[in-house]
Symmetry: C2
Subunit: 438 residues, 2 copies
């Protein structure tokens, strides 16, 4: 049961968070003279860039999620703890969990970000975001239930409300969701219903800024906009959302009757960042030193979406490649410290950015090069399958995708959980007695 | 939107329930001069014989569940309604839903059965049953969390409680669950943990009767028992369970400390049977006429697990082949009635019974023939894949299985939903401060 006594003397590195940053850091300690403990409140690493595929019924949760234990199975110096870190005592060097505590010599904090409603947290019920497997299953449920409710509805304006899907925020997640929803309604569900025509569904993407994919080049934004419109997505730019409720979304230019709103607008850093007591930026990210360590906290490093850092004078973006590079770098710096050497500053290597819009539609910025359409999509496909952790997942994801794209059939169209509450959401009492038989 | 006027005059057949019986009945009306409406409170047909594979992380929910709409997509006379039937007015011929109503000319009731706690409904929290996708995900979550909690636990007797899994009831579901849990702990999770040895897990199957698989031949029971013991399952026969709580199961012979109990002991007919006002048997099943119609209810037929009927003097078993034969027969009888002909009595054709125990382990009774071991397992595999509705599912299930069996790797090992409540279930306050770092 117990590792040999000599292992007890090795420095104990604790990593909180099993996302891209945390997993990459953990792997960088492979065969190094440390004891490693990775703590996560979920048992799985999630390949978040493909989460929208679960939300739109193309992939199964287990296609894009892999148990952290399995990922680190071969790494003998690594333990995994399922638990929620609630605070950090940087003086005593102890991580407090909801139900226990773990002492560390070195700590890597990689708890990432969550969606932010910019102070309007009551919106989370009417407009769920997309960060976890549970979020994706909830959005899938809402989308599928909306079509079911529309099929049952006799009032035409009610049908329109159910068949209107609004996505708030045109970053990569918003653009992917809008494209995938357009494909579902136009191609997949077409023959499934008798009374409604899913192809009539209205997919609206609302963005407060002047262009979609604001983090990419203006050229890519233009291409993405054209591809979204070609798919039948209505894109509304320069319009901020002021109100969301069960039956509508109000933005600067209009009010839209809708029963399904998806929030893809803002991210906020994990609250654990503030627990360090270090300086944070407006989004709650920890201002880290150039070597990714935290001023005033001995042996603590912060990486990924939770870290605020500049490289070559530009902020490092909140993308998985950045988190992975930082994870590897923080691990190296800890090994430097263990050997009594000095740490090295982090430099971000930008290998380019890709975003997908739909089948055979994507855009990419690689240095000065801008690609779009089929070629960008093939690059996106290659990169995403290549980086999907665990061969099993890769194999199944390729098969599922081949099926989805060749047959226009999304197999994971399951509604699980309770259907009634959603059908009843905001329903007027007089609706309940309508005769449904035609 | 509206079907042509002539369709409005066709007789309206309503089927409640999209299980094996309901789906088979619906398909039997293909190209027949009726309007058909299938009502189910879930949007998917579930291939229940493989549900234990989801509960034990081998398959994904969508591998064994298929949207009812997709199954009936090509059948132009069929509509599908997502809704919950709560009562039936057999005089007015109206089905009342939780939120609407549907009029019928002919009704096929196929709402099946649920698990029964024999009056101890409070057991459902401590010992979930396995009937729905949600049940399977909940059991999967509890099993995986148990290993996680054991890995974190420092007290040896607590570790034993977490690593003890008790299955109550040795029918096909109980036997399959016990076999699959034994395989997970002995083969799959072996290398994933650092402190515990999953191979030490205790899997106990408790049966009140004198043999496992009581519905099969004594020879098959013997073979199944030997195969279960070979897999390391502890089988306790002739012992009734008297008490179940968060931390233990008490049966006639002993008390077992366990944190995970799975209920596979009893089934009760769907409560909708009683709503007809017809005679029911002790398990709540509707006593149907020999032609599957219900005395006193004009145009109503009951099939599948909800129907109590004898064929050749023997009760028809609650198995999917029987439900499918009854579904086809009820549909034919309704078509007879529509044409002004008389109905025909139902006769059950017993093609044999198969039950699986684990990898390459199964038993089968085919007439006077009893098979077991690899040959029975191959037959089981063939039959189950052959009948899995929807080719996509078949393809993916074969690939997933090939992976599971060749690599001993169960990919769907995701814990979704809230972890904390279960970790805390029955936990003593003094546990909370234990130092987890080793």
């Amino acid at each position: 049961m117990n590792p040999d006594a000599s292992a007890q003397k090795l420095p104990h590195v604790v990593i909180i968070g099993g996302g891209f940053g945390g997993i990459t850091a953990a792997r960088a300690f492979r065969k190094q003279p440390v004891r490693l403990t990775l703590i996560d409140r979920r048992n799985h690493h999630l390949f978040q860039p493909l989460l929208y595929q679960v939300a739109t019924a193309a992939l199964n949760p287990s296609d894009i999620a892999s148990p952290i234990r399995r990922i680190l199975r071969g790494q003998n110096n690594a333990s995994v703890i399922l638990g929620e870190a609630v605070s950090i005592d940087t003086r005593q060097k102890i991580v407090h969990l909801a139900d226990g505590e773990v002492a560390y010599d070195y700590l890597i904090l990689a708890t990432g970000s969550t969606h932010s409603y910019f102070g309007h947290d009551q919106r989370s019920e009417a407009a769920p975001g997309l960060k976890t497997v549970e979020d994706a299953i909830e959005i899938r449920r809402r989308v599928l239930v909306a079509y079911e409710a529309a099929e049952r509805e006799v009032d035409d304006s009610e049908v329109r409300g159910w068949l209107t899907f609004v996505i708030v925020g045109a970053g990569p997640t918003g653009v992917e969701m809008a494209g995938a929803l357009a494909e579902i309604s136009r191609r997949v569900l077409e023959r499934d219903f008798r009374r409604i025509d899913p192809g009539r569904a209205r997919i609206t993407l609302i963005e407060a800024g002047p262009r979609v994919l604001p983090a990419m080049s203006p050229q890519s934004s233009e291409h993405a906009l054209a591809q979204l419109r070609h798919l039948g997505v209505e894109v509304i730019l320069n319009s901020a959302v002021s109100q969301i409720d069960d039956r509508s979304v109000t933005h600067s230019k209009d009010r839209i009757d809708t029963r399904t709103v998806i929030w893809a607008a803002g991210v906020a850093a994990s609250s654990l960042g503030k627990a360090l007591g270090a300086e944070t930026d407006r989004a709650g990210r920890v201002m880290v030193n150039q070597d990714l360590s935290v001023a005033g906290s001995d042996g603590v490093f912060v990486i990924g979406d939770l870290a605020s850092i500049k490289s070559d004078g530009k902020p490092v973006p909140g993308l998985s490649p950045a988190a992975m590079q930082e994870g590897r770098h923080a691990a190296k710096n800890i090994l430097h410290l263990i050997r009594g050497e000095s740490t090295k500053p982090f430099r971000y290597l930008d290998k380019g950015t890709l975003a997908t819009i739909g089948r055979a539609a994507a855009v990419g910025d690689i240095g000065q090069l801008h690609v779009s359409g089929l070629i960008a999509w093939l690059m996106w496909l290659f990169v995403h399958i290549f980086f999907l952790i665990g061969f099993r997942n890769r194999f199944f994801v390729i098969s599922e995708w081949a099926w989805v794209y060749l047959r226009n059939d999304r197999g994971a169209r399951l509604i699980t959980g309770d259907v009634e509450p959603l059908l009843e959401r905001g329903e007027r009492p007089e609706d309940r007695d309508r005769l449904l038989s035609r």
